[in-house]
């Protein structure tokens, strides 16, 4: 497993918080997903070995929670709300814009590796619908124009990083 030293340190820190190692399964998975973006088979086996479990025990947990990703994800995770208010205010259109701009499909990694676009349920900001979360940042009133603008920002950052 290729985890950042910080992640490893946090993992070692979190395990003794629990009476039985097994209980640290969820926190460990969160830390790994935060670091790598998704939970690979290798990660499952790594966690199992770390917590003295069998891989199947960890696999059960990973598949139970839909928010653990079992596939790689783009550098940025674009979460478009599709619950009632946002849906009424054009959330689907917003989503389509993101897909088109990055030439990708829902749930997939865009060809440039920059983003993964997905629908999520209510982000608790219904008053400013449609809303989008990019990684941990909330963007409000994201109509198609604003979506295009956000895409432009992400792409600009990407080309800056490459040079």
């Amino acid at each position: 497993m290729n985890l950042k030293p910080e992640t490893l340190a946090r993992i070692d820190e979190v395990i003794p918080h629990y009476a039985s190692k097994r209980s640290a399964t969820l926190p460990l998975l969160h830390l790994i997903q935060e670091d790598v973006g998704w939970i690979s088979k290798e990660a499952i086996e790594w966690v199992a070995a770390k917590l003295e479990l069998q891989p199947i025990n960890v696999y059960e947990v990973v598949t139970f929670y839909p928010m653990f990703r079992q596939k790689p994800i783009g550098r940025r995770h674009i979460k478009v709300c599709r619950t009632l208010s946002c849906a009424l205010m054009g959330g689907y259109k917003t989503c389509e814009t993101f897909e088109k701009e990055f030439d990708t499909k829902m749930g997939e990694v865009s060809p440039d590796g920059e983003v993964t676009v997905e629908f999520v349920e209510c982000l608790a900001s219904c008053g400013t619908a449609p809303v989008v979360m990019i990684d941990d940042e909330l963007h409000e009133n994201v109509d198609s124009a604003k979506a295009k603008h956000l895409c432009g920002q992400i792409k600009a950052e990407a080309s800056q990083r490459k040079t």
Binding site: K41, Q54, P55, I56, N57, Y59, E60, T63, F64
Partner: protein, 563 residues
């Protein structure tokens, strides 16, 4: 024998019937003792309790007492102590008997609960009983009939899931039938110590899976098929071959090792279709190894021996061979023979004044239900006096005797001499009388071959590693040209001038009871199906090879150290 400590008994009341049960007995088991069936799926007496199927709901109550004085509160209407019932039903599998516990299983609420649980279990169940191997022994089928509503209100589409996932070489999974009881998962983890199964995804998409890249291939995998309450797990060997209700069940013993797991042999019209474990809490609980389930294939094996001659003719020619070699005869007995056969082998050896050898068979013990002694009945040979010390794997002394010309004839009772270290040249130097079931180099070299029976075609007893005498019954009749071991051995003994002994099992047992001190108080007829522990003290000085297995701890080793 050391008496087990008396368990604390508590009295519980089940549907008005009082019964004293050991503290800690759960409601399902307690109810069974008064003849009340509490339907259940996930609970298995030999696995941990998880309480996830909810079929075993019952009403619970405790006798009412005054909170301050603790004096019983009486019900004026009945004149008995009032019972405080818990308003909501509780699961019986995870409720343990305590003094005064009251249980109701027949109320309208419980009937409703059972109908509700059954309805949910059947929502996504494919109801393909007509093509399901489990039909006829399916808990879901039985309990849906007994406790279900009897008709379906479900008009939506059912979930579609994989129908034939190969979990391992011997087990196939039909995910649609699975009711997610987790018995198989717990078995693998707790008994087989091979934690590879689990549920992935959730809700109605939950699917039983083997961890990707692993397989359910431990030597106990088929027990999951036995305990699966539905037809989700089926055996590749038995799948689609036979309807269980056509099969005759015969109690038998697994001959793989000295553990002596209790089994049931399932046959129809003289053909065996499967072997499953039979519960014996002192020996194998409800389990057996996969390897033991395939042993029945030996019955119809191609190299099975059969004779054209009558038994009389065979015995006559055997007697001729032996008479020629008088005074230079050895007997190779077997730890695979039954107690009765070993007794007769001893008599035969006495009649021809032969020295007796036995061949040990060993392999790695798995710590569960296969011990390192791969003979089922070496202890029987000790009890019957066939041998007085533990056998070795190689017949080196016999080989020496053959080379020196001391031994001119060998009677082999079911053993292959070559695999015990006798060379083909040595085989060539002696005349062999061979009793056996399958062709091997010894039967090829023998002057006289008496084809005999497998454990499935005869009855008798074995003594397992705990010195537990266990009986097995005849499951299928023998084919023509194969002869009953007892009959053959007693006739040859008589022909060689030895005692005339009965070949009928029950009559023979009268002789055994009289002659063998270890069996003095035993009769075949009264031997319990779960076996009888014999007094092992006469042999406590021997160092038996077995290590620890499920219900066996080697005791002799410590004593051996002390001595």
């Amino acid at each position: 024998m050391i008496q087990p400590a008396k368990p604390d008994l508590v009295t519980v009341n089940i549907d008005g019937k009082e019964i004293a049960v050991p503290k800690g007995t759960n409601v399902i088991d307690a109810a069974r003792q008064v003849g009340v069936d509490v339907p259940h799926y996930c609970y298995h007496p030999k696995l941990s309790v998880v309480g996830n199927c909810r079929m075993c709901l019952v009403e619970l109550g405790m006798p009412a007492v005054d909170p301050v004085s603790k004096a019983p509160i009486m019900d004026p209407a009945t004149g008995r102590q009032k019972v405080n019932w818990i308003p909501r039903p509780q699961i019986g599998c995870a409720t343990y008997a305590s003094q005064g516990l009251h249980i109701r299983t027949q109320t309208a609420q419980i009937k409703d609960c059972r109908e509700g649980v059954t309805e949910f279990l059947l929502i996504n169940h494919p109801l393909d009983c007509p093509i399901c191997d489990k039909a006829g022994e399916c808990m879901l089928q039985e309990q849906s009939t007994g406790y279900g509503r009897g008709y379906s209100r479900f008009i939506e589409n059912k979930n579609v899931k994989p129908k034939r996932t190969l979990l391992g070489p011997r087990v196939v999974l039909d995910d649609e039938r699975c009711i997610l009881c987790s018995r198989c998962i717990r078995f693998c983890k707790e008994v087989a110590k091979d934690d590879v199964l689990g549920f992935i995804d959730r809700g109605s998409y939950s699917t039983l899976t083997c961890y990707p890249g692993k397989a359910l291939e431990n030597n106990y995998s088929l027990n999951t098929v036995d305990i699966c309450p539905v037809g989700a797990l089926t055996s590749t060997d038995f799948r689609f071959k036979m309807r269980v209700w056509f099969l005759k069940q015969t109690n038998s013993i697994d001959t793989e090792s000295s553990v002596g797991a209790n089994t049931v042999v399932w046959s129809r019209e003289g053909v065996i279709h499967r072997i499953t474990p039979r519960r014996n809490d002192e020996v194998n609980d409800t389990w057996m190894a996969d390897s033991g389930r395939l042993l029945y294939k030996a019955v119809g094996a191609e190299n099975r021996l059969a004779s054209k001659e009558t038994l009389d003719a065979l015995i006559a020619s055997a007697a001729d061979v032996l008479t020629d070699a008088e005074g230079a005869i050895a007997v190779v007995g077997s730890g695979r023979s039954s107690v009765e056969e070993q007794f007769l082998t001893r008599k035969l050896a006495d009649a021809v004044k032969a020295r007796v050898f036995l061949v040990a068979r060993s392999g790695a013990g798995d710590g569960i239900l296969i011990s390192s002694d791969r003979n089922p009945n070496v202890r029987g040979a000790l009890i019957t006096g066939l041998i007085d010390k533990l056998p070795s794997e190689r017949l080196d002394t016999l080989a020496g005797g053959i080379d020196s010309g001391e031994i001119k004839a060998v009677i082999s009772v079911g053993e292959d001499l070559t695999s015990a270290g006798i060379t083909p040249e040595q085989l060539g130097k002696i005349s062999i009388v061979h009793f056996g079931t399958h062709a091997n180099s010894t039967s090829d070299a023998a002057k006289v071959v008496v084809p005999t029976l497998t454990v499935f075609e005869k009855a008798g007893t074995f003594v397992n590693q705990q010195f537990r005498l266990q009986k097995f019954a005849k499951a299928v009749p023998a084919k023509p040209g194969m002869h009953d071991d007892l009959d053959a051995l007693s006739r040859l003994t008589a022909a060689m001038g030895g005692a005339s002994l009965p070949s009928d099992l029950h009559e023979l047992w009268e002789v055994l009871t009289k002659e063998l001190p270890a069996l003095a108080t035993t009769t075949y007829r009264t031997l319990p199906e779960t076996g009888l522990l014999l007094d092992a003290t006469p042999w406590s000085g021997l160092r038996f090879p077995e290590g620890e297995t499920l219900h066996f701890k080697p005791a002799a080793s410590e004593e051996g150290v002390k001595a």
